[in-house]
């Protein structure tokens, strides 16, 4: 039963994880807005989420060691390093830096809202699961 609960929340877990990763990447872009030759990075959330869902549990993560056939098989996917890509600057700067503050800050704010949405959805999912258990 526990693994069913795990599976029910897996999508939310992966999505939150990737949103947090993207938040890190965007924060790094904003921090390096004045670093010469820094190239702004980002990744495509949709395709990364699909990849994480497709490979997540099967991927080599952390597995529980079993010494008996009756032991439970625990399997925790490691947060894989997202496939980072380079942003194409609309106005390149002379020092080779491709961070555009407006783009980065918009993406950061948008990502924060998505993260919050994901938190709300996860919370309501947990609540409905709890309600089902208390019937």
């Amino acid at each position: 039963m526990i693994d069913k609960l795990d599976a029910a929340l897996r999508f939310n877990q992966e999505a939150l994880d990737l949103r947090a990763r993207r938040q890190d990447v965007l924060a790094s872009n904003i921090a390096n807005a004045d670093t010469p030759n820094y190239k702004a990075r980002d990744f495509d959330f949709g395709s990364e989420l699909q990849r994480a869902l497709a490979t997540g549990t099967a991927a080599a993560g952390t597995t529980l060691a079993t010494t008996s056939a009756r032991h439970l098989h625990g399997n925790a996917a490691l947060a894989t390093d997202a496939d980072l890509q380079y942003r194409l600057p609309t106005q390149s700067s002379i020092d080779g830096n491709t961070v555009e503050m407006n783009t980065e800050r918009t993406a950061f704010a948008e990502n924060a809202v998505h993260y919050e949405t994901e938190l709300t959805v996860t919370t309501s999912k947990i609540k409905s699961l709890l309600a089902a258990m208390q019937q």
Partner: protein
């Protein structure tokens, strides 16, 4: 959410405040004709570098070096100045006040952006703690 976002934004705050310190020093000494070594003050500029977190491709920023500005010093004709040379010219620091002002505005804008990143990350982190409640 990982804790590294705080390290990233924090490192940027450090670097930008160091840049502001250097700018303040430059502006304060824009007219310092002599320094401890008897020569006019030379403008300093910070050099930023990416500080990767572990083996990750992203990271914060650090000040890798503080270099002396290579610009030529200004000279002003002022024969009454005791430091004037034989032709009556005084050598002034190579500080460009206009450049320093724009530098300072840029540093403070970057600082603000990183403070906003920190605030957003903090509020998201607090909300994450109350997940499922």
């Amino acid at each position: 959410m990982t804790m590294s976002i705080f390290a990233i934004a924090g490192s940027a705050l450090d670097a930008q405040s160091q840049r502001m310190n250097v700018t303040a020093s430059n502006m304060a000494n824009a007219d310092s004709v002599t320094g401890p070594d008897g020569k006019p003050y030379r403008a300093r500029q910070v050099v930023f570098q990416v500080a990767p977190l572990g083996d990750s491709q992203v990271g914060g920023v650090r000040v890798s070096d503080v270099v002396e500005d290579a610009a030529a010093p200004r000279t002003v004709f002022d024969p009454k100045n005791p430091l004037a040379n034989a032709d009556g010219y005084v050598t002034l620091p190579n500080v460009s006040v206009v450049e320093e002002m724009t530098n300072m505005i840029s540093a403070s804008r970057s600082y603000e952006a990183n403070v906003e990143v920190l605030n957003t990350a903090r509020s998201l982190m607090v909300k994450t703690l109350s997940i499922g409640q």
